[in-house]
Amino acid sequence: MTASHHLHHDAAGDVAPRVHEADAAHARAHADVWAQDVSVGYDGDPVLEHVSLAVEAGTLLAVVGPNGAGKSTLLKVMAGLLRPWSGRIEVLGGPPGREARRVAYVPQAEAVDWAFPVTVRDVVTMGRYPALGALRQPGPTDRRAVSAALEQVKMSEHGATQIGSLSGGQRRRVFLARALASEASLFLLDEPVTGIDAATQEDLMDILEAQTKQGKTVVATTHDLACAASRFQRVLAINRTVIADGPSSLVLDPDVLSRAYGGHLLVLAGRTVLLDDAHHHDEPPRGERHYHDDRQRP
């Protein structure tokens, strides 16, 4: 067991032993994502402060926390979409963005314009674009990769469908297929299992688990603590900073959760009930459009 698998109670009271210097260097060398004392925000308002973490290759990590905790922001820093104000971060061994072609980022559903005139196949094919470079059009290899990705998410029959006529679960399947088609090493998924049926959730988690078994790294934000507990190997609980980080069974205990979620948590005879677990996403940061599609099929 390496340093990052210990449970760190960073915000209050050191329950677990601190990471030693040598351990830290070791963690950094083996991490697909490594951050030290990262602070970031929008327009001068801090969202995350003093975040440190190391995510080893092959990890299936859930990022949990209440609305406004900074889950999406953390993902955007990893994706190179937001530059930290301070602190250091490395992604796939370099500054965020350097290995961008090996990163697949899936935005939360609200950030996607579902009325956009593209088909399922068009979207998945976009996963191949960055590696193709300018002027080259997708060839047979790309078409095979797209077909394989569609097959994996069980969407082969819907290739020609405009994305707006898909159900919520199908929409998440399509974007996961785009990530698979890109053959990325690091998957950064913003709410991949939010607002979808149980069967789709199981399917998507099976696929992600299989990816991590092949050495790929998955970081996914989620509101769904039950899913985080049962399907993810490691959980990072944040609320503007890291509250807890470790194996899901340890992090998702009522004591840690009540600190992550503040008063919005009800503990009943050892069973935890989350009170604000609506699917409300964070307010979109300036410059980012959110689309609210009321016509989405159930």
Partner: protein, 284 residues
């Protein structure tokens, strides 16, 4: 038949026809991005910003297209910069730039002492006045715009659809957004003599908006926009010739009529087929 061929005996009409086809084509292609990215207001601001450039060209006896082009591209890039780096809302910044640049144009125009050109031809266009040299410039500029769209086709599509995903996977989304704004500016320069500063935004937006009402795929959207754009430009030119009315306004009125028709009978329209409506209800 004579009605069609008779005007072709005049060189000025043939030049106008070529310019109309080119403007219809380029506006439809670039307009597809304008409609998908919601840049209509920016397009309007850029076209008004071309005015001070045109007047400066008059004052300095420089090229009309160079003056309009510099002013339009500079404004487009400035709007892009403000929207990325300022705390102002983009539409606020556009509102300021829009009126400010147009006022600068009027100010400069009113300072012309030596001769007084006809301002209406800049506001409303005069496609029949396009000279042989103008036409060469327009063809080159239009060719550049179409070539850039062709070269960055994939990247523009990805960055327009999902800027976050595209940026995270390494596409230069910021530069692509500036490119779209610059393409809008160049397209306006290509079309401004045909329909004028005030109406050019219609050339950019209306054919693509019409196409959006009837197409579910971007390639189809662009193709439909091109057909609508070229068809209305040619139809409008002939109609204005036969009726002896302003060409720019006639072209725009035909586009508006086609848009309203698509709104009524297209996917989801009140007169559309039930199947189309049902599809629209789902496709959104």
């Amino acid at each position: 038949m004579d009605q069609i061929t008779a005007p072709l005996a005049y060189d000025f009409f043939v030049r106008a026809l070529v310019a109309a086809v080119l403007a219809g084509l380029v506006c439809a292609v670039v307009g597809s991005y304008v409609v998908l990215k919601g840049l209509a207001f920016i397009g309007d601001a850029i076209s008004h910003a071309a005015f001070p450039g045109i007047v400066a060209a008059l004052l300095l006896k420089g090229s009309f297209y160079l003056g309009a082009g510099i002013a339009a591209v500079a404004t487009a890039l400035a709007i892009g910069w403000v929207s990325r780096h300022s705390r102002l809302r983009v539409d606020t910044a556009i509102g300021v730039v829009f009126a400010g640049t147009f006022a600068l144009g009027v100010f400069l125009f009113s300072s012309i002492r030596s001769f007084v050109p006809e301002p209406l031809s800049y506001f409303f266009g005069n496609i029949l006045a396009i000279g042989p040299d103008d036409l060469v410039g327009l063809l080159v500029l239009g060719g550049v715009v179409l070539a850039l769209v062709a070269v960055f086709w994939k990247e523009l599509l990805y960055a327009t659809f999902d800027p976050l995903g595209a940026a995270a996977s390494g596409l230069p989304v910021a530069r692509l957004e500036y490119l779209v704004l610059a393409l809008v500016a160049l397209t306006i320069v290509v079309s401004v003599q045909a329909v004028g500063i005030i109406l050019v935004v219609a050339m950019l937006v209306t054919p693509a908006a019409t196409a959006q009402l009837v197409s579910v795929r971007y390639t189809r959207l662009m193709a439909t926009a091109v057909i609508v754009g070229i068809g209305s430009a040619v139809g409008g030119l002939y109609a204005s010739y036969w009726l002896d009315v302003a060409s720019g306004a006639t072209i725009v009125l035909i586009q508006t009529g086609l848009f309203l028709t698509a709104l009524l009978v297209g996917r989801g329209g009140p007169l559309g087929t039930r199947r189309a409506r049902a599809q629209m209800g789902r496709a959104g």
